[in-house]
Symmetry: C2
Subunit: 206 residues, 2 copies
């Protein structure tokens, strides 16, 4: 297992129970939602005491912010890496971006679910930072689509909105994906890539 597909989102940080606490928070928020999970739940999952959580995180909402920041960083890193290895044409760049996105969902489904469902409970600077990171990710897709529309690869009449439609359909995969489902990792990625290209009205092999 390499660095791009860890079993847990947060690897050991070299600081006591920090990684265990962050991963436990992710699981707890994923299972019961931010307001449905208590700090006691997080502590129990992390195998430590309630009060010890506050040696690592100043509050529950900052705990959510920290977890979401790490999840988003990992997704952004994967997208960057995938696009660095991709070619120059819009179709293959989009394909690689979609594949990287799907693989992130498969590897970190809970992180993706929490990311989409619980961001809205953040406030102030924490929320602004997350939204900015998410906008940056969206811009990556918009740029690819714009490039494809410019050179005639994509025929969609609504480039920016179509890019968003692709992204939302993609992140919704986290809501229904099951590891024991009919499709393998690769098949799922391939399927979603085809949906994305079709939605953008790229000519497809029929």
């Amino acid at each position: 297992m390499n660095a791009r597909s860890p079993a847990t989102l947060v690897a050991d940080t070299g600081r006591g129970n920090e990684a265990a606490i962050l991963n436990a928070a992710l699981d707890a928020f994923g299972a019961q939602g931010f307001h449905g999970a208590s700090m006691r739940d997080v502590a129990k999952r992390a195998g430590t005491s309630l009060s010890n959580l506050y040696n690592y995180v100043p509050s529950k909402s900052r705990l959510l912010a920290e977890v979401l920041r790490r999840a988003n960083d990992e997704l952004a890193a994967r997208l960057r890496a995938a696009l660095a290895d991709a070619g120059d044409d819009a179709a293959s760049r989009l394909r690689e971006a979609v594949r990287a996105y799907v693989r992130f969902i498969v590897d970190h489904q809970v992180a993706m679910v929490v990311s989409t469902n619980e961001v809205r409970y953040l406030t102030g600077a924490d929320r602004a930072a997350l939204v900015a990171e998410r906008d940056a990710t969206q811009a990556v897709f918009e740029d690819i689509v714009a490039q494809g529309v410019a050179d005639g690869t994509f025929a969609t009449p609504y480039p920016d909105d179509a890019a968003r439609a692709v992204l939302t359909a993609l992140s919704a995969v986290a809501g229904w994906y099951r590891a024991d489902g009919r499709l393998s990792r690769g098949q799922l990625a391939e399927q979603q890539a085809r949906y994305a290209l079709a939605l953008l009205e790229a000519p497809l092999a029929r």
Copy 2:
């Protein structure tokens, strides 16, 4: 304003504050989430007392269930009506279904948001009933897609999964739609219909 586009999801029920309470619950759950909103919040929004809520609903989770049931009923009724008026060919049936869905989102955005985000907090029979209704809605779309694939209208190689992709992209619209946005109701519906047809790989006017 006709019966298909009410200002609030629940019209007067002829029973005291019932409608006000259900609509207030919808707003409260939409604004703060199921666990983030308290029964006191609901009471305040409904303009009544906390204890009076329990003259209408036996528990908070049943309140959520009741609200979601009514939302889903309204959506299903609109879909049925739209398809009754539609033609026989798969493309126009899909178009009408998508348009009805989008119009429901525009009219009852909060209901759609709560429906997708908070169903998971239901348990037992309440959850099962909702899931069954949702599966029925999905089956409507799957049937249309299957018909279109059978007669050659749609070229997608993954009919059922594509139908689900269309549906999830569609319901995600509730997450970002803004009434003061760039697109009108009709334009938004038209756009989403085009996305759906493209995703299903229907031949489009280019």
